[in-house]
């Protein structure tokens, strides 16, 4: 009984119950409220895991690594539900969505949260795969929600690429089981991560190597690493903005989490290849590619989608370098990116609604026409471009300095990518935020609270990162090896 009556049980039970409820509840205000409440309760349940940690069994495990992801996941899930309440209300008024769409949207939102939470707490690598597939399918239908030509093509592209990716990941999972089977015997043990990691040194290294390649390709597609990123900008641009925020802020992290778990497995086997160079290369390619592509964006949501590819590249690079310092910086960068990018998407969603367009050329002088929104965008871009004193500056600084100490040439490429990307973002932001207002001018009506909350977190983390968090991240960084 104690097994399920705790935080773990709650974060797994709340979203599906809420989804069932939201699928039938009429009325938009009520369902938006239920969505916010369910997300808030999930967040509290996640926090409670710090104090009452459930026991590990064959299906679920909570350790110091995934607790970070779970708390971040439920926190951003909650703030997104708050943003979504006002955003979706506007879409309803403007006639882009009807009430049936909304019931579907809210139910899918909770199913997606369920999929991500399940993937993060799963101790069974097969269960983790199923959960990531579930979260992917939920986001696919959300991306196609508007049923416009562009939305359908984006959803189709996302679906096909993600399915192929996820198929490779399953093949990799089967290979891991094959590698484990001679050592652990048949059955559930061969898929239980906590058992795998203790016995990984005895696995066949050749089989593990090939398995990791498949897993990296498969889950890497979901992380959005170039050149497997083609689905990402379309899916971000054409779906509802709360989904863009969750995609960038959370779903990419969940796929990254899967890669990290398997990286730890590889590290536990002395004869297996070191996944580091592979991750460093993929990360650097994504960073440089996205940095240059940023200059050609004409759609505001696509701009920030490419910035997500860039940041996932940096994060994968950091974890690829490995070692306590780079891992610490990677974790910090991941957390900061999630908070900043979803905050930016909250701002961008409101901008697109106020202006009635996502075209960058038609958005001008926001700080004059909508001061709070305009300055939020400025603050968000300054944060994401990695300027001091905000959180991303600190994590990027740590990544660069730790890389300089070990591989100066790589650090040069890294710095080049970062500078090019920051230049593009700041350049685009200036056009949108300053100058004489252009295009449609309308008052803002959405809630600023989620935006301010995220930006405040990023600022606080940049100026003064609490010692408890530092200690926790350092501990996790050592775990990652």
């Amino acid at each position: 009984m104690t097994g399920m009556a705790n935080g773990l049980g709650l974060i797994l039970a709340l979203p599906p119950v809420a989804a069932a409820l939201l699928a039938v509840l009429p009325g938009y205000r009520l369902s938006a409220g239920v969505n916010v409440l369910a997300s808030l309760l999930s967040f509290f349940a996640a926090i409670s895991l710090f104090f009452w940690r459930p026991l590990t069994d064959s299906y679920f495990a909570i350790d110091d690594l995934n607790i970070v992801f779970i708390v971040l996941n439920t926190l951003v899930g909650f703030t997104t539900s708050v943003f979504s309440a006002s955003y979706i209300g506007h879409e309803l008024e403007s006639g882009k969505l009807n009430l049936a769409n909304l019931r579907f949207y809210h139910a899918m939102f909770q199913i997606m949260m369920f999929g991500m939470n399940l993937a993060l707490v799963a101790n069974n690598i097969g269960l983790m795969w199923v959960a990531i597939e579930l979260a992917t399918l939920a986001t696919v239908v959300m991306v196609g929600l508007y049923r416009t030509h562009e939305a359908l093509e984006a959803a189709w592209k996302y679906f096909i690429l993600a399915s192929v990716g996820i198929a490779f990941a399953l093949f990799g999972t089967i290979l891991v089981y094959m590698a484990a089977q001679p050592v652990l015997g048949e059955g559930l043990q061969g898929m239980t991560w906590t058992v795998l990691i203790t016995r990984a040194s005895a696995f066949d290294p050749a089989l593990l190597n090939v398995a990791f390649i498949f897993l990296f390709l498969g889950y890497g597609t979901k992380v959005g690493l170039a050149p497997l990123h083609a689905w990402l900008p379309d899916a971000h641009a054409e779906g509802p903005t709360p989904i863009s925020a969750v995609l960038s802020g959370l779903l990419l992290n969940v796929a990254l989490y899967a890669i990290l778990r398997f990286k730890m497995l590889m590290a536990a086997n002395a004869d297996a290849i070191n996944p580091g160079p592979l991750m460093v290369t993929a990360g650097l390619v994504s960073l440089l590619f996205a940095a240059f592509m940023l200059y050609r964006r004409r759609d505001i949501k696509r701009l920030f989608a490419y910035s997500s590819i860039e940041h996932m590249g940096i994060i994968v690079f950091a974890f690829g370098m490995g070692g306590p310092l780079a891992n610490f910086a990677g974790l910090l960068q991941m957390t900061m990116h999630s908070l900043t990018k979803s905050g930016i998407f909250f701002t961008v969603g409101q901008i697109a609604q106020v202006k009635g367009t996502q075209k960058i050329s038609e958005i001008r002088g926001l700080t004059v026409s909508n001061p709070v929104l305009g300055w939020s965008l400025v603050a968000g871009v300054i944060a994401i471009a990695g300027m001091p004193p905000l959180g991303i500056f600190m994590s990027e600084f740590l990544i660069i300095s730790s890389t300089f100490a070990r591989a100066p040439l790589l650090a040069l490429a890294l710095v080049l990518g970062l500078l090019v990307a920051s230049g593009a973002l700041v350049w685009r932001m200036q056009g949108m935020a300053f100058g004489a207002p252009g295009g449609r001018i309308a008052p803002t009506r959405g809630s600023y609270i989620p935006i301010f909350l995220h930006l405040a977190c990023v600022l606080v983390a940049g100026v003064f990162l609490p010692a408890a968090i530092v200690a926790w991240f350092q501990h996790v960084a050592r775990m990652l090896g």
Binding site: N124, G126, L127, L137, G144, F159, V210
Partner: protein, 220 residues
């Protein structure tokens, strides 16, 4: 020296690769559907044989799912969809059939070279199954790449999934959770795609992905 059990498993898994090749060169949608149904039947036989030789009765469920769902329900549903959409004309392939077949042979060679080399200590049946499964997976991918039509891309994807089921059943004693969930995910995936197709039809009167290329994001 391998015995009868191995020979049959080998025959069935090899047939699956062969049927995958047949999928590659079908240029009519009906024929493609029929070959896919055959693909699913062969898979189901192969899984049933694994259930018998591994003495793992739960695998029969996977075999029945493969037979009932993939060999009967989906082809029938897709058949009706094709009729309703009025697209029973030729499938446009983007590359020539000869080139596609050569690529396919190359992919099979690659998967044999990779899988047989890394699994010298594994169980013989599992080893062969994995190599064949990777071939089926890559051939399914090739089918998807060479087709422009949404229905044939779905079929390519499902043949790819069949390869995964072959791999999962070949790995001895792999927990049932995964097999059922694979089948289940295919079901969900299919519903999703079905909804998409329906909407695509609703909106554009075409299921040709090529006709959707007018949307190129930023390049306006």
């Amino acid at each position: 020296m391998h015995g009868f059990n191995f020979d049959i498993a080998h025959l069935l898994a090899g047939s699956l690769v062969l049927v995958s090749f047949m999928l590659l060169y079908q240029d009519r949608l009906y024929a493609l559907l029929n070959v896919f149904a055959l693909h699913a039947v062969v898979l189901s036989l192969s899984v049933a044989w694994q259930a018998y030789i591994q003495d793992a009765p739960h695998l029969y469920i996977t075999a029945i799912i493969a037979l009932g769902f993939k060999a009967i329900i989906i082809p029938v549903a897709l058949h009706r969809m094709i009729v309703r959409l009025g697209i029973h004309r030729e499938v446009e392939t983007t590359t020539s059939i000869g080139l596609t077949m050569l690529l396919g042979i190359g992919l099979v060679g690659l998967s044999m070279a990779v899988m047989l080399r890394i699994t010298p200590h594994a169980d013989l049946v599992a080893r062969e199954d994995l190599a064949f499964a990777l071939s089926v997976l890559l051939l399914g991918l090739l089918t998807m790449v060479t087709r422009r039509n949404a229905v044939s891309q779905i079929i390519g994807f499902m043949s790819l999934e069949n390869g995964l089921v072959l791999a999962a059943t070949g790995a001895k004693g792999m927990p049932l959770v995964v097999e059922i969930s694979v089948a289940f995910s295919v079901l969900i995936a299919f519903i999703v795609i079905g909804v998409f197709l329906f909407r695509i039809r609703e909106r554009f009167d075409t299921v040709d992905i090529g006709a959707m290329d007018q949307f190129r994001g930023d390049r306006q």
